[in-house]
Symmetry: C2
Subunit: 318 residues, 2 copies
C-alpha cells in the first residue's frame, strides 16, 4: 500500500502553526497545504498574499516570532521612506518582505500562475512540502459592515476590526477553480485525511470551501475530515474570530464552530474544557480533547501528531 | 521689471550636478528643471524614473556621493531577499529608494500625473525648486544596437553598454506633449535663459528636444540658450556619451556636441583645453571657457553662477 497523503486547509497565523507542525511530522510528498488567498489584494502595485506568506515564512523558519505576520529580524527602511513621503502606511511591509513581493511581482508579470509562483518561492526558501494557494483565480473576501462593504484587509488592518460585521461574501469564488495542487490532493486515492487548521472559519476556511466542488469533494471523501477548534473557552486564540461571530449573532464557542462546519466533519479537536459543550451540541461528532494551544515548536509538532493519530483512528472505523 | 526665470534641461548625473548648482544660485521660483524621462521603465510593477530621481535626490542632498544613482547611506535588505529568491538583480534598488518607488506607485495609481507625483515627492523632500519630467506622456528611448533594439536601461545597466549602437529613437515622443511645467517655462515672458546641462546629448537632452514644439520654442526664444559640454578632451565626464558617439561614427569631442546642438545654441560652456577646437569648428558660437568638472558643492555652485553670468552677457547682446 502506498504512503498516505494529507491535505491541510489553512489561513494565516493559527493555521500556519499547525501547518508547520504537520510539515515536521510528515514527509514532503505526504502533505499538501492549501492556503486561503481570499485576503489577497493589490497594494503599491504588488500582489499581497498575507496567508500564503505567513505559511511560507513559518515553514521556512523565518517568520516573526510574535506579531503573526512578516519576517523575523526585519528592517523598515523602505517603509520609513514611504511614510516620510506621505505614502499610505496602514499596511506595513518590511524590507525583506518587500523583497519577496518584488520577486512575486516579476514572476506573475512573466506569466507564472500564483500556484507556480508560490511553489518557486517556497522551493527557494528550502521548503519541501507543497504550499499552494486555494485558487489561481481571483477570490476576494468582502465584509458587509455597518460602514459598508470592505475588503478583508481594510477591515482587519486599516479599520482594526472596528466596524460591526453583518455578512461575508467570497466575491469571485463561484467563478474560480481550486488550484491544481488542491484539486490533485482532493482527487488523490491515497488521501488519508483532511485537516481544517485552527484558522478563522469564516475568513480563512470558508473561502476555500466556497470554491466549486471543494465542499462536495470533502463530503464524498473516503478519508476523515477533521477540524481543530480556533476557539478556547469563548475566545479566539488569535485574530478576530470571536468578534466576528458575535457580530454575526453566533455565540463564539468551539461548539459553534463545529456546528458551522456541520456534516463536513468526521472529527473535531478541541480543548478539554470545551469538549462537554461540543459533545452536548453535536453528540454524533467524534472528539479529541487535548491541549490545542501552540506556543512552541514542540507544541505544534505534538498537536500535528495527535491530529494524524486521530485521523488514523477515525479512518479505521470508516 | 520682474525677476528673470531660467529653465534647465537635464538628464541624470552630470545634469543633476549643474541643476543642484543652479538651485543654490537661484531662488525657488526662478528655476524650472525639466528632466529627461525617456529612460523610464516599468520594473517590479514600479515606475522607474532614473533621471528624475537622481535630480531629486541631488537637490534633496540625499544622493549617493559616488555611484551616480540612488541614495546615500542606503541598505539592501529587500534586494538581497529578491536575489535569494532568484529574482532579476540587474537593476538594483536600495531599501530607501524602494520606499520612494512605492510612494510614486500609490500616487500614480491614485490618478496623479507624473508631473504632480514628482512635484509632491520633491516637496516632501523639502525641495523648493520646480523639478518636472519633460513629459507626462510615454516616451521610451530605444537603442538600435548590433544585438537588436533595446530600451535604454537594458543597454546601459543590464548590458553595461556592450552592444554597439547604430541609432537611437525616442518612441512616443511625437505623440507626447511637453509637461505643463516645461511648457509654462518656455512660454514665460520672464524667461531669461535656458541651460542644456552637461548630460548625454543623445540620451538625455535629445529626448526633450524631440517633444513637439520644444525645439521650435528654443529657436524662437528671445533669451539665450546655452549648453555645458559633457565632454572634456574626448572623454565623457561620466556615462556612455563618448562611447555612443564613437559607435555612431562621431568623434567624441566638445566640438562635436556643439555641432550636434547646432543653431539651437547661443553660447557654449567648455573646458579651456577644448575651446580652440570648438572655436575653429563653430566660429560664430559664443564660448565660455572654464573649469567644467564638478566635484564639490562649490564647483557646482561656481559653474552655475558662471553659466548665469554668461547668459546675462549673451542676453545683453541679443
Amino acid at each position: 500500500m502506498s504512503a498516505p497523503r494529507y491535505l491541510a486547509l489553512c489561513g494565516g497565523v493559527g493555521g500556519a502553526k499547525l501547518a508547520l507542525g504537520l510539515s515536521r511530522a510528515l514527509a514532503p510528498e505526504a502533505l499538501t497545504i492549501a492556503v486561503n488567498n481570499g485576503d489577497d489584494f493589490e497594494h503599491f502595485g504588488l500582489s499581497i498574499c498575507p496567508d500564503l506568506d505567513t505559511v511560507t515564512y513559518a515553514l521556512a523558519g523565518v517568520d516573526h516570532p510574535v506579531q503573526g505576520w512578516g519576517r523575523d529580524r526585519e528592517s523598515w527602511n523602505a517603509f520609513s521612506q514611504l511614510e516620510r513621503l506621505g505614502g499610505p502606511a496602514w499596511f506595513r511591509l518590511g524590507d525583506k518582505d518587500i523583497g519577496l513581493h518584488l520577486a512575486r511581482r516579476v514572476l506573475l508579470d512573466e506569466g507564472f500562475t500564483l500556484s507556480e509562483t508560490s511553489a518557486r518561492i517556497a522551493r527557494a526558501f528550502g521548503i519541501g512540502h507543497e504550499i499552494a494557494p486555494m485558487t489561481d483565480g481571483r477570490v476576494r473576501t468582502q465584509l458587509d459592515t455597518a460602514d459598508g462593504l470592505m475588503p478583508f484587509q481594510h477591515y482587519f488592518v486599516r479599520e482594526r476590526c472596528a466596524p460591526s460585521v453583518r455578512g461575508i461574501q467570497y466575491a469571485g469564488a463561484a467563478q474560480s477553480q481550486p488550484s491544481p495542487a488542491l484539486r490533485r490532493a482532493l482527487d488523490d486515492p491515497r488521501l488519508a485525511g483532511v485537516i481544517l487548521c485552527p484558522s478563522n472559519p469564516y475568513l480563512s476556511i470558508d473561502p476555500i470551501l466556497a470554491l466549486p466542488g471543494v465542499r462536495d469533494a470533502l463530503r464524498r471523501l473516503n478519508a476523515p475530515v477533521i477540524a481543530v477548534a480556533p476557539i478556547i473557552g469563548g475566545a479566539a486564540i488569535k485574530g478576530p474570530t470571536a468578534q466576528i461571530m458575535r457580530d454575526l449573532g453566533i455565540p463564539p464557542s468551539a461548539a459553534a464552530v463545529a456546528r458551522h462546519y456541520g456534516d463536513l466533519l468526521d472529527g473535531y479537536v478541541t480543548d478539554a474544557a470545551d469538549a462537554p459543550a461540543v459533545a452536548e451540541a453535536l453528540p454524533e461528532l467524534r472528539l479529541l480533547a487535548c491541549d490545542i494551544v501552540m506556543r512552541t515548536a514542540e507544541d505544534k509538532m505534538r498537536l500535528a501528531r495527535r491530529c494524524l493519530d486521530f485521523i488514523s483512528r477515525l479512518g479505521a472505523r470508516q
